[in-house]
Symmetry: C2
């Protein structure tokens, strides 16, 4: 089985010889070769630079043995096209945070092929580069709630309390904002698939801040709309909710093909409870990649075993690689996946 | 039923007329009267100032209608007595973070009655002030894992990755550190009870960063030891694990009398699954206190209803009051609790 067949089969719950493997944020600062390509350019320049983006997207294949490639971009890539200025300092900073209904009304839902053509050029080149190696290509987008949290707050935050307050005080405006971001996300993911992405991952980084009732009311509908809009297409949808162990059951009903689990989720329970409905991805704590190589092998075996009741399992972390993640730990992780097939 | 009887009965799972109510960090910056007392003194000075600490501890009774009082101090109060210098800038800063085994060996486990006598003077005065009003007095301590996370990291952090790495690479040193912090915590809580605390809450702010296996290995044993050391005494133990919705089942077996739940936990499920073993406390998202008064009343009714299968329920938040928490929201919360008894 080649890596592409293995990956797509695992997404769809079809038989595989062993779990496929890749790591969230595998193209990142922990790699010296990534830092070399990043040197001298800003993060935004890097995202718009087709050559550099292609290069860092591909690095993890040979450098750490990853068996899938994900588009190098940021979740904010499609946002300026809506009429919102975003900078990175180094976290995202919104020049004019959304605080009034008229700002929401003024938001455009652009055709991303016109507003961010570089994304699709990167995907086309990646697809071409990967074709011979039979490695799957993933696209991705930030989920509407997470994007809204930043757009309203204006920057990163521990609790994104401005949007959270609005859920109680201005729910109609939140709905209007989420509506536009959902439309944007659907168009953006469809265009990525059209340009060659063979699976797409939706990152809901901050939805896990909500209690179950608020998640059900404000987050789940957008996931369902996005999944429904992509359904029947050629590319499976992977849904990741950071710190979302309390909403896994709701997320499992989103219509996504794969649930990407935070490390806090008990993989075995999730596999037993929801694994017939969705495939699972994850979910090692990235900090554990500091463990000795043999211990990483052991943890990978445990994960694969725990996920057995699920229709499919993709080995991954429960969160992205961190700047201080050891390269040898990442290498051990992918080697351990290959050892499962031996 | 007076507030003290109601509170202690709810902790022990004995019948009550309605759920008692108080709020974590109810003596905090959201209160103008608290800010007035804090004006001109540092946080450390404030903690050591018996008059001021007594005053702010008592404020929430009349200002927002709280029906329990918790000692005003910081989780780091007993730490300098171990030989570790702590400052606040404004978050905790450890002058010499623990990075070597010899630093752990050098830690003292002091008698807190000698190292922090002011704490017990505050408790004695509070108990006297509360006696006529029949309001219960709570003591508290930071849990060993949370204290260790700061002592090793040196300051606040998003992921406390240094201690987390040690769990994989230096488990014996972590055990030694947790051992000393557990001994400290037991002595500190016992001395608080001796000085008048009628219940004590253990705050494990960062244990929720761990996956279930690491929580089971490094966190749960300390909770069990502390609960066992206090068992049979006069003061119930309340255990709070921030962001710990994935370990509620493990925490419910700690031996604590009450589990204080993060807002992410589904209160009804917790009540049904663990509520015969432990009483529950919580668990409204503090952000929801921005909601209109009628909506807060509705949410409090829903919580009380959801918690019915539990042997006892104390109305509280799922996290402490925030600096921008509206005073009228807190007042609505306690009024809503009283309305349940009408």
């Amino acid at each position: 089985m080649n890596p592409r067949e293995r990956f797509l089969s695992a997404c769809r719950g079809e038989p595989v010889d062993r779990p496929p493997v890749w790591l969230m944020r595998q193209a990142g600062r922990y790699l010296p070769e990534y830092r070399a390509v990043r040197a001298g350019v800003s993060f935004l320049e890097m995202c718009w630079d087709v050559e550099r983006s292609v290069e860092v997207s591909l690095q993890p294949i040979d450098l750490v043995g990853s068996e899938a490639v994900i588009l190098f971009q940021d979740i904010f890539t499609p946002i300026p096209g809506m009429g919102i200025e975003v900078d990175f300092a180094p976290g995202p900073v919104i020049a004019q945070p959304i605080r009034e209904a008229r700002q929401i009304e003024a938001l455009r839902v652009p055709d991303p092929r016109e507003s961010v053509p570089h994304v699709f050029e990167i995907l086309r080149r990646l697809r071409e580069a990967l074709e011979k190696r039979e490695i799957p290509l993933l696209g991705f987008a930030g989920a509407p709630f997470t994007l809204a949290a930043y757009l309203v707050q204006g920057s990163g935050s521990k609790d994104f309390s401005i949007l959270k307050k609005w859920l109680q005080t201005r729910p109609d405006e939140v709905d209007a904002l989420l509506e536009k971001l959902t439309a944007l996300t659907i168009g953006y993911l469809r265009a990525q698939i059209e340009a060659g992405a063979q699976a797409v991952q939706l990152f809901d980084t901050w939805a896990g801040l909500l209690d179950r009732a608020a998640y059900q009311r404000f987050v789940a509908p957008a996931h369902r709309r996005i999944a429904a809009a992509l359904e029947g297409g050629s590319a499976p949808l992977i849904l990741y909710i950071q710190n979302g162990s309390h909403v896994v059951d709701i997320a499992s009903e989103s219509g996504a093909d794969v649930l990407s689990l935070d490390w806090r989720v008990d993989l075995r329970s999730a596999a037993e409870q929801f694994g017939r409905r969705v495939s699972l991805q994850g979910n090692l704590d990235p900090c554990w990649l500091h463990a000795p190589r043999e211990r990483i092998f052991e943890m990978v075996r445990e994960m694969a075993e725990a996920a057995k009741p699920a229709r499919g399992h993709i080995l991954n972390l429960g969160h992205g690689c961190l700047p201080d993640t050891p390269v040898e730990g990442v290498r051990a992780f992918t080697d351990a996946a290959r050892a499962l097939g031996a």
